[in-house]
Amino acid sequence: MRPFFELLKKIIHTGIGKSRFLMASVGLGIAMLLILVAIQVHSNFNQLLYSAKNQNETADFLVINKKITNAIMGQSGKSAFSPEEIDKIRTQPFVQAFGLITSSRFKVVVQAPGDLHFATDMFFESVPDSFLDVKNEDWKWNVGDRTIPIILPSDFLNLYNFGFSLSQDLPQISQETVKALPLQVVISNNITSEQYIGHVVGFSDRISSFLVPASFMSWANEKYGTTREAPTSRVIIKTPDPSSPSLVKFLDDNGYTTNLDKLKFSKTRLIVQTIVSVIGFFGLILLLFAMLVFSMFIQLIIASCKREIQLLVMLGTAPRQLKRYLLKQFVPLYIIIGVVCVLLLAGLQYVTATVLAKHDMVVSVWPGPGVFAGTVLVLGLVYFVNLLTVNRYVNKES
C-alpha cells in the first residue's frame, strides 16, 4: 500500500484548508485536555475522600440527634429515637458503622481533689470503643475496679481554660495536669452510693460528651439505674463520606442534626463538583465542534478532489483503499494529540500531587485509569465520526 498512498498524496491534496485543520486540532487538544482534567479532578477528589491514606478522622464520625425545636422542648421522650428510626438510620447506604450512645441512668457527682474545692453534678455516656478517637491502654474497666477511666471533650477543657477560669480567677489547667488529677466520682441512685476514682485518660474531638467504658456503663446502669431502659437520643455513625449529599438530605428530611461543621465540606464539594462538571461540559462542547470541523474538513478535501477520486475509482481504486488513505492522513495526528494530552495531564497531576502532599493530602502522582479510558474513548469517538464522514462522502463520489 505504501507506494500507492505516496502517489495518492500527489492527487488528493490534504493540504487544503490547513489552518482550519490546525485550529480543529488545537480545539480537539483543548477539548480532550478539559475532559481529562475533569475526569482526573473527579478521581483525585475520590481519592481524597475515600482512600485509606486520607482518612480524615473527625470527618468520618458523626453524632446524630434530633433537632430540639420549640415544639418538642420539655418533652424528653420526643427527642429519643424509636427502634424503627434507629433501624432506618442503621440501614442507610452511607452508614458504615453504627453505634448507640448510652446515657447514664444514675446520678453522678464529681469532686476535684485536694484544695480545688470543685464539685459538680454530672452525667456519663458511653459509645462502642471502635468509635473513639482516643487510644489508651487504661481505657478498660472490669467489675471490682475502683478506678474509672474517663474521656472528656476537648472543648470542655477549652471552655474552662479560656472562659471560666480567666473570669473566676482560677488557674488554667493543662491536659496533662487533668490526666494526672484523681477525681472523686460518686455514683448513686438516691438510696445507695459508691465512690470511685475517676481518671481522665484522654480528650475527644469527636464526641462532645463525658465518656466512660461501655462495660462500666452497663454494670452501673444495672446496679444504680433509676429508670428502666432509657431511650436512645443520640447515635454515632461512621460514614465514608460526610459530605455526601444523600447524607445531608437524609438528615434534613428527618429533622436530625449533627455537627454541622463537618457537613460544610459538602458545600465545598458541591461547588468543586459543579466546576468540574462545567469544565467537562465545555470539553464535550468543544469536542463536538472539533469533530464538526474535522468532518467539514474531510468533506472539503473530498469535494475538492471529486474528479480525481472519480477517476481513481474508474481506474480500479477500491473505495476501501481511498477510505483507508484518507483516515491515515488524520489518525496519526489524533494519536499524537492524545499522547500529548495524556503527557500534559500526567505533568499536571504530578504537580498537583506534590503540592497536595505538602498539605498532607495524598493523591496518586499518576493519572488514574479513568484518564486513559477517557483518552481512548474520545479518540475512538473522533475516529468513528471521521470514519462515518469518510464513508459517506467517498461512497457519494465513487
Binding site: P3, L7, K10, V313, M314, L315, T317, S398
Partner: protein, 216 residues
C-alpha cells in the same frame, strides 16, 4: 472471464439506433475469453458508449451486461474495483491521465494499486522503450503530446493483470510505425496473460489478427 451482452440499448441513442441494423446493439452477444474482438463503428453509433457500458462507468442503457454471468449492478463497488485491478483493463479514448503526475507516476499508480504488482518497474521501462516514450517518462503528463499520452495510457493499461482489455480507438494519434509497435506489444501482453481484447475503431485495420469482427 466471460463478457456477455443481452439486448443492450443505450437509452439516449435508442431512436436513432433502432433504424439501422447492428451486430451489437439489441443483440445477444457473448465475447468468449481470450478472443481478439474488433468492433468497427462509424461516428455517432455509440462506440465509446459501448466501451463505457462494458467497463461499467455508464449506466443509461436497457438490456444487460453480464460479467461471469452476473449483471454489472450485482457487483458492489469493492468487487468492481477488484475486477478492474485484476481482470479488466482499459485504454480510454480520452486517455484520462492525471495531469498532476508525471508520465511514469501515472503508470506506477496503476501498477501499485494492488498490493502485489503484476509488473516490475523494469518491465515498465522495457515497454516504454518499445513504444519510444522513455525520454518523457519523468515529464509531467500535462506537457506531453497527445500521441505520447496515448502510449503512456497503453502502458498503464498493460501494467496490470487482466483477462480482457478494452480499447477505444487506441491508436488514433499514433503514426504507422508507433501503431505497429504498440499493437505488437499489446498482442504480446494479451498472449502472455491468455487474455482477450475488445477494440473499437472507425475503420478496418490490420493491426491484429482478429478472431471476431462486429459492426456496430
Amino acid at each position: 472471464m466471460q463478457i456477455q451482452i443481452q439486448q443492450l440499448m443505450p437509452i439516449p441513442l435508442k431512436d436513432k439506433l433502432l433504424q439501422r441494423t447492428s451486430g451489437i446493439w439489441n443483440q445477444d452477444v457473448t465475447f468468449s475469453p481470450g478472443s481478439f474482438v474488433k468492433i468497427k463503428a462509424p461516428s455517432g453509433t455509440g462506440k465509446t458508449t459501448l466501451v463505457h457500458y462494458l467497463y461499467h462507468i455508464r449506466y443509461d442503457y436497457t438490456g444487460t451486461v453480464l460479467v461471469d454471468n452476473r449483471p454489472w449492478p450485482a457487483y458492489n463497488k469493492n468487487e468492481v474495483a477488484a475486477l478492474r485491478q485484476q481482470q479488466l483493463s482499459i485504454i480510454f479514448q480520452d486517455l484520462r491521465l492525471f495531469e498532476q503526475l508525471t508520465a511514469v507516476e501515472n503508470i506506477e499508480l496503476k501498477r501499485v494499486m494492488q498490493p502485489n504488482p503484476y509488473c516490475t518497474p523494469e518491465k515498465i521501462r522495457e515497454m516504454a522503450a518499445q513504444l519510444n516514450v522513455t525520454h518523457v517518462l519523468q515529464q509531467s503528463s500535462k506537457t506531453l503530446s497527445y500521441g505520447e499520452r496515448q502510449r503512456i495510457a497503453i502502458i498503464r493499461a498493460l501494467s496490470q493483470p487482466f483477462q480482457w482489455l478494452l480499447m477505444d480507438e487506441p491508436f488514433s494519434h499514433l503514426d504507422e510505425e508507433n501503431t505497429r509497435r504498440a499493437a505488437t506489444l499489446i498482442a504480446a501482453e494479451c498472449k502472455a496473460r491468455n487474455a482477450g481484447f475488445i477494440l473499437t475503431d472507425l475503420d478496418d485495420d490490420q493491426h491484429f489478427s482478429y478472431d471476431v469482427h462486429y459492426q456496430l
